[in-house]
Symmetry: C2
Subunit: 121 residues, 2 copies
């Protein structure tokens, strides 16, 4: 019934894609310039096939855009693909920082009064 959107990549796919050093290198390579598959492959010591597979992973993670021109395919980094990662990071950061703030406060109270500081009950 409903119109299915362009399937938003999960945080899992994102982090798993970025966990590979070579995939991050590819991403940096096409961050400033649009490159064809062959050009990307030429920058590495592994086979063209391996790079093609990495590119597929990055594409599925929403980190790459593809533009076909003749027999060639041009790739470029997709900044919005990193939005999910930023969200994940902000949530983690906020949660932990909030706790850290609470701890500092409790510690200060401790040094003043000598009162015990345990886990928040």
């Amino acid at each position: 019934m409903g119109v299915t959107g362009p399937d938003i990549p999960s945080t899992d796919a994102l982090l798993q894609a970025l966990a590979e050093p070579r995939r991050r290198a590819i991403l940096r390579l096409v961050a400033n310039d649009e490159l064809a598959a062959g050009e990307i492959a030429a920058a590495f010591d592994v086979s063209r096939t391996a790079i093609s597979q990495h590119v597929t992973v990055l594409k599925k993670a929403g980190l790459l855009t593809e533009r076909r021109e003749g027999t060639r395919r041009w790739y470029r980094a997709r900044p919005e693909g990193l939005a999910g990662l930023r969200t994940f990071l902000d949530e983690m950061w906020a949660g932990s920082l909030d706790t850290a703030r609470r701890l500092v406060e409790a510690e200060r109270g401790l040094s003043d009064t000598g009162e015990e500081v345990g886990r928040a009950g």
Copy 2:
């Protein structure tokens, strides 16, 4: 001779640690509360051993702090551990966004003059 610092975890270790769904769950679990190893393990359906190994990975990535008390070890999320990830994200984002801006500008020029817009030479 020199004083060796507390060895800063690499971006690779960071992303690889975060790539595991269960490790992210552990991180969320200790983001707001300090928990003992056993308590963390109790929250999952896998063995205590598996959790211990995940905790080790997170610790090596600088994402966890450990506090020993008697036979127990208390764990807590370490917000500064995510700093490296933020740096990585910002650099990627900046690079891609800069390119995107350049492209929009070029495209606007194209729609006005009909001039070809290729890769920056």
